[in-house]
């Protein structure tokens, strides 16, 4: 779906990157979608840098440069385009490409006990080797200093049933002045593991980038593969993807609202929302074969059909769950002790969301109309069928509102997609995917429950996968600290749950 035509690609010298990218953002209101770094030395190149932008009308632009492998240094783009800040740190860790003048050159993916000068995504790094730890000094993480200031360390192992990450709160009393997050604890080396593997093998890794956004990732990966193999799935397969993708959004949004109650210690809300989520996940199992929708999509189409009885089952269960969900939301909105905790808490300013490239619920709750289903429609969804749900306030309440409205819209969207599927002839679920075009790259983009997932896939001279880069919606982690500063430390769990980001697909 997302072919970037040659005309939309421009190669510049590394020293011109910041200028060209900055101009795109300033003068064309472009948004940085992803930056991918590659090791192309084996093919006579250097280290590649691919900055992928989206213009306001959705059109994609790629600004590319080859960095000299003898001296892999280039002027950092981050000061011109702040959204590049994590991408450049990542490329520095994993490929050893140095962004000169980066305002925050600390490590991101690799932790401090990883030796210097060793970069796992370089082609001459053996993926199967284990690397000995090196001693490293412990340094304070936050920059907050002064009388009465303290630093509170939390994690990586947390008190609840959640994923691992380390947080350092610098503050006075209960007020947080600065939050620094140390993430990438669950870094599993998925991108490296994909290199040289078959299309089907990588599908299993894509599905397991993240358990709760599994299908969004699988479909984004499939889209990139389909572009490279020049295959278009059947209308039926696209609709089935669309229906399951909305079921994925529904169980997440409903569950995330229940978890918001946990963040504010509203046990009745946790209990009632948890039952709704459970019913949706059992529906997933019943019609999709899996509570987290693994094994639904494949490049070329889908692995599961939705026959007449399955379609009716979806409509019946969703009708019942929707009615209950509406009652549940109304009851929450009337619970003033709960709503009072949400209003004005954890405000993410629109400018910060914009500058750092926030996506998904977090961006929309801060006034940015950004939804991949609307800007780059896919999976059977017609252009204009989805209108981004936007709120201006940027607080926890706004993020809850966005989820509620989107869940209502998803119930309706599933009905519309099932209506269309009903009239289609059975069969033609998956079209064969042949060899991938050699020496090309393509992207797939989906809107997961958390926001835009981007899968950037590059092939080598024999059409083999040489680089697989995943930018998940959970890159929103880079904006969370801005929403926490100035709030009370005990509100952090609530703010955190309102973003509801994964660690697994960020860390990869």
């Amino acid at each position: 779906m997302t072919v970037v035509p040659e005309a939309a690609r421009v190669t510049v010298s590394p020293s011109a990157l910041a200028d060209v990218c900055g101009t795109l953002v300033r003068e064309r209101s472009a948004r940085l979608v992803v930056m991918t770094a590659t090791d192309e030395r084996e093919r006579g190149g250097g280290y590649g840098l691919y900055f992928l932008f989206a213009l306001p009308d959705g059109e994609l632009r790629s600004v590319e440069a080859q960095v000299d492998p003898a001296r892999p240094v280039y002027p950092s783009v981050t000061r011109a385009v702040p959204a590049a800040h994590w991408y450049e740190r990542e490329a520095k860790d994993l490929l050893g490409i140095e962004p000169e003048g980066h305002p925050d050159p600390r490590r991101l993916v690799l932790h401090d006990d990883w030796p210097r000068g060793l970069h796992p995504l370089r082609k001459d790094f053996d993926a199967t080797r284990t690397v000995a730890r090196v001693a490293h000094p412990h340094e304070p993480m936050t920059g907050v200093r002064g009388e009465g200031v303290m630093e509170v360390p939390v994690g990586p192992i947390h008190a609840g049933i959640i994923e691992p990450g380390h947080f350092r709160f610098g503050g006075v009393g209960e007020v947080v002045l600065q939050l620094e997050a140390r993430l990438f604890y669950t870094h599993r080396g998925v991108e490296k593991a994909a290199e040289g593997q078959s299309v089907d093998r990588v599908l299993h890794l894509a599905e397991r980038l993240c358990g709760v956004c599994s299908l969004s990732h699988a479909v984004a990966y499939a889209q990139a593969v389909e572009t490279l193999a020049d295959v278009t799935p059947s209308r039926r397969a696209l609709l089935i993807r669309g229906i399951f993708l909305e079921l994925e959004r529904l169980y997440n949004h409903v569950g995330d609202i229940a978890n918001l109650c946990a963040g504010a210690a509203l046990q009745l809300g946790v209990y009632q929302g948890g039952i709704l989520k459970e019913r949706l996940q059992e529906l997933n199992a019943e019609v999709g074969g899996h509570r987290y929708l693994f094994g639904i999509a494949r490049p070329g189409g889908v692995r599961r059909d939705l026959d007449g009885p399955a379609q009716e089952r979806i409509l019946a269960v969703l009708a019942a769950v929707e009615a209950d969900f509406r009652g549940y939301v109304d009851a929450l909105l009337e619970t003033e002790s709960f709503m009072e905790r949400l209003r004005g808490t954890g405000v993410l300013a629109r400018e910060i969301a914009e500058e750092l490239g926030a996506v998904g619920v977090a961006a929309r709750a801060s006034g940015i109309a950004r939804d991949t289903r609307s800007s780059h429609p896919y999976a059977g969804i017609a252009r204009g069928a989805v209108t981004p749900v936007v709120r201006a306030e940027g607080d926890v309440r706004a993020r809850m509102d966005v989820r509620v409205e989107e869940a209502y819209a998803s119930f309706a969207l599933v009905r519309a997609l099932v209506d269309e599927l009903r009239d289609l002839a059975p069969g033609d679920l998956a079209r064969p995917v042949g060899a991938l075009a050699p020496d090309r790259w393509a992207v797939g983009m989906t809107e997961s429950p958390r926001g835009e997932n981007v899968h950037w896939l590059m092939t080598g001279p024999r059409g083999e996968i040489t680089r697989y880069r995943v930018r998940s919606a959970s890159y929103n982690w880079s904006v969370v600290p801005f929403a926490v500063a100035g709030n009370l430390l005990p509100d952090f769990p609530l703010i955190n749950k309102s973003f509801e980001l994964c660690y697994a697909c960020l860390d990869r």
């Binding site: 932790h111 199967t128 599993r188 490296k192 397991r208 509203l266 996940q281 549940y328």
Partner: protein, 251 residues
């Protein structure tokens, strides 16, 4: 708040009938092997993306590696592998997760020791050692009103200091090995470790390397393995119960 209470009063009991009744499973199920129909053609092993199947003189499925993707079922020309809606049960060793089981393996000592020491109540600490978060969300689902793990006297606690049992997910990544070990070290004896999911049991489907490990056993002594990708909440509860010796080891 009153509206929430009113809603609650109108709701019926949500808790599942399991384990009093067999769980109603509706998902795709796991491959079940029928030796009578197998001609050892090896198509399943070739189709398996995670090398869970070996076919030489006999068929063997390592459920610790299996991610239930059903590729083997699709590939089998003789119908020797069929999807079965049975709970993918836990076991007290990697060997016991081999399908079909090698003869002579019966591991009950751990279970009996644990039962003697802990009685019928167990406090659990969850530890994500580098998963895709699927298992962790299923662990979370054990606490919802439907699966309601507290029916069994099982409770999740906030600190390893309070825990009898460590419930571990993930491949044991390089970046979590030290934290995992410290969490275990903070627990008082007697302590149990349950590895949840394929990647905790074997590292599958992520290849071990600079970042990923081979599962929980890389860093901790494992008492029970719960297979599945991810295991259903019932299977996770069964794994904990197996560890404390309240149910018999599946043989």
């Amino acid at each position: 708040m009153l509206s929430l209470l009113r809603r609650r009063l109108r709701m019926r009991t949500a808790a599942a009938r399991w384990p009093a009744q067999a769980p109603v499973l509706v998902d795709r199920g796991r491959p079940v092997f029928d030796a009578g129909r197998c001609d050892l053609n090896g198509a399943c092993a070739a189709a398996c993306p995670v090398a869970a199947i070996t076919v030489g003189a006999s068929f063997s499925l390592d459920r610790a590696r299996c991610i239930s993707c059903a590729r083997c079922i699709e590939a089998c020309p003789t119908g020797a592998l069929v999807p079965a809606l049975v709970l993918d049960g836990p076991a007290t060793s990697r060997e016991l997760l081999r399908d079909p089981l090698p003869p002579g393996i019966r591991a009950r000592e751990v279970a009996e020791r644990a039962r003697r020491v802990l009685g019928r109540s167990v406090h659990v600490r969850h530890l994500d050692a580098g998963s895709c978060n699927g298992c962790d969300w299923e662990i979370s689902a054990t606490t919802n009103a439907v699966h309601d793990i507290q029916r069994f006297g099982i409770d999740f606690v906030a600190s390893p200091r309070h825990a009898d049992l460590l419930l571990v997910t993930g491949t044991m990544t390089r970046n979590l090995q030290i934290a995992a070990r410290r969490t275990y070290d903070a627990m008082a004896e007697p302590r149990l470790v349950v590895a949840v999911g394929a990647c905790a049991a074997s590292g599958s489907p992520y290849p071990a390397g600079y970042a990923s490990g081979h599962g929980t056993a890389d860093a901790l002594p494992v008492d029970v393995f719960v297979p599945g990708c991810p295991p259903r909440p019932e299977a996770i509860i069964e794994g904990i119960l197996l560890a404390v010796g309240r149910i018999a080891a599946r043989a």
